[in-house]
């Protein structure tokens, strides 16, 4: 029986889709059977980030409306045999699905996969409600900006109200040198407000932009710092204890971050 994990943030553009793709690939590389579900109906782009756009035949709406079987809609990634993608429909909108249907879909995916990652759309409306309907666990992605943290806080409140307790945080796009100068919120600043468990910190990294444009998630590239961060996150998802930031240490943030990635 698999586990359904929703990746959400409230605010748009903080890296939900990138995080979904990277964690999905890293879990698949670690030998787990992974299904990536794009719940952003009408604005699909997980397939683009994964480089699988040209292989879409059926989509999530086709499965829900019964136009095809679930297996037909799942795109098998040839590079990583354990990884499958269920793309969103581009011509419909979020109201084409309801939470009950998503729940049913998640239940049937659970039978065949170890991890089902749901890429949640931005916002707190229908799309969000659909995406969290079948989830057992939630990952909240935020960037160290006040607006993103504010929205993350709102999302955590909504998740808790929907019985998705103990969501975990991924702090994306942090720039250690800016934090050191005091120009950017640090991990501690963010955790002070959100007060939830931290799953990982991902540095701002050019390699993410390059790999996203190529359709090859950074977690599959060895020399990418951000890719390493995502691989560590996926190991933590699998329950491994991966060395983490020493929050009490006086050493510089950069040093601590480097220590994390080496471990």
């Amino acid at each position: 029986m698999g586990e359904v994990i929703v990746i959400t943030s409230g605010k748009g553009g903080v890296g939900k889709t990138t995080t979904s793709a990277n964690i999905g690939c890293a879990l698949a590389l670690a030998g787990k059977k992974v299904a990536l579900v794009d719940a952003d109906i009408g604005l699909r782009n997980l397939d683009v980030v994964m480089g699988l756009e040209n292989r879409i035949v059926y989509d999530l709406i086709d499965v829900i409306e019964g136009n095809c079987r679930l297996k037909q809609a799942l795109i098998k990634d040839k590079r990583y045999p354990n990884l499958h993608l269920l793309p969103a429909a581009q011509t419909k909108d979020k109201n084409a699905v309801n939470p009950e249907q998503m729940l049913k879909l998640c239940e049937s995916l659970k039978e065949d996969f170890d991890y089902i990652l749901i890429d949640c759309p931005a916002g707190i409306e229908q799309g969000f409600k659909n995406a969290i309907a079948g989830a057992n666990r939630a990952i909240v992605v935020t960037t160290p900006e006040v607006s993103a943290v504010r929205d993350a806080d709102r999302i955590i409140g909504l998740l808790e109200a929907s019985e998705l307790r103990n969501p975990q945080l991924v702090l994306n796009r942090i720039r250690p040198e800016m934090v050191k100068r005091g120009d950017m919120m640090s991990l501690d600043d963010v955790l002070d407000i959100l007060a939830i468990g931290i799953l990982g910190v991902v540095p701002d990294d050019e390699s993410i932009v390059i790999s996203t444009n190529k359709g090859e998630p950074a977690s599959t590239v060895d020399d990418s710092l951000a890719g390493q961060a995502f691989r560590n996150i996926s190991r933590r998802i699998m329950g491994e204890e991966v060395p983490f930031l020493d929050l009490t240490s006086d050493s510089g943030f950069l040093k601590r971050l480097k220590k994390l990635f080496k471990g």
Binding site: G157, E160, I193
Partner: protein, 216 residues
Amino acid sequence: MNSRLVVFKGKKDGINIFLNDIVPFEELRDFFRQKVRGAGTFFSNSTVRVNFSGRDLSDDEKGALLKIIREESVDIKEVIEVPKIVDKPDAPAQKVVSQGGGFSSGDNRTVYHKGSVRSGQCVSHDGSIVIVGDVNPGAKIIAKGNIIVLGFLKGFVHAGFEGDGECFIYALDFSPTQIRISDIITFIPSDRAKNEDKAKYAYIREGKIYISSVML
């Protein structure tokens, strides 16, 4: 039984109208009309501030009731509806607080809210509120009595919501952007000296809100 469908209560700053939430709206509306008609001079001010409680009303329903007051009361010039705190179904905090009876009953015990109040959540109560946790930016705490926050206070708080100027607001880490006590609003500048005491309380003196450090 019927007489309890609609209850008028005169308050210092207006009229609280308690509405039964079991009967269908149509029945309630008809009874409301009778009651307003029978109230005679109750609404004889030129301006009336009303506040509905006891029942969740849609905007249309609220409009219909306010219209009845306007139609049935001859002397009235203006009806102002006091914005009431609406329980949001997605805010879990509400459940905790509504156990205390919400705004409708005469219950003014202090309620305790355990845990943080997050952005978009609202805790409101007919008495004092103690938050054992943080009040995050974007969160709302509204009390008829005092508000005490045993954590950091960065959200919006309104103490003495129904006009009680004796109320105070206390927080272990007092850094809200705006606070209200009774009907006085204060904006708080965000640039505070770093070594300033964090625990503070706010109160009204001579029509102004004062904020003082507290010795612990």
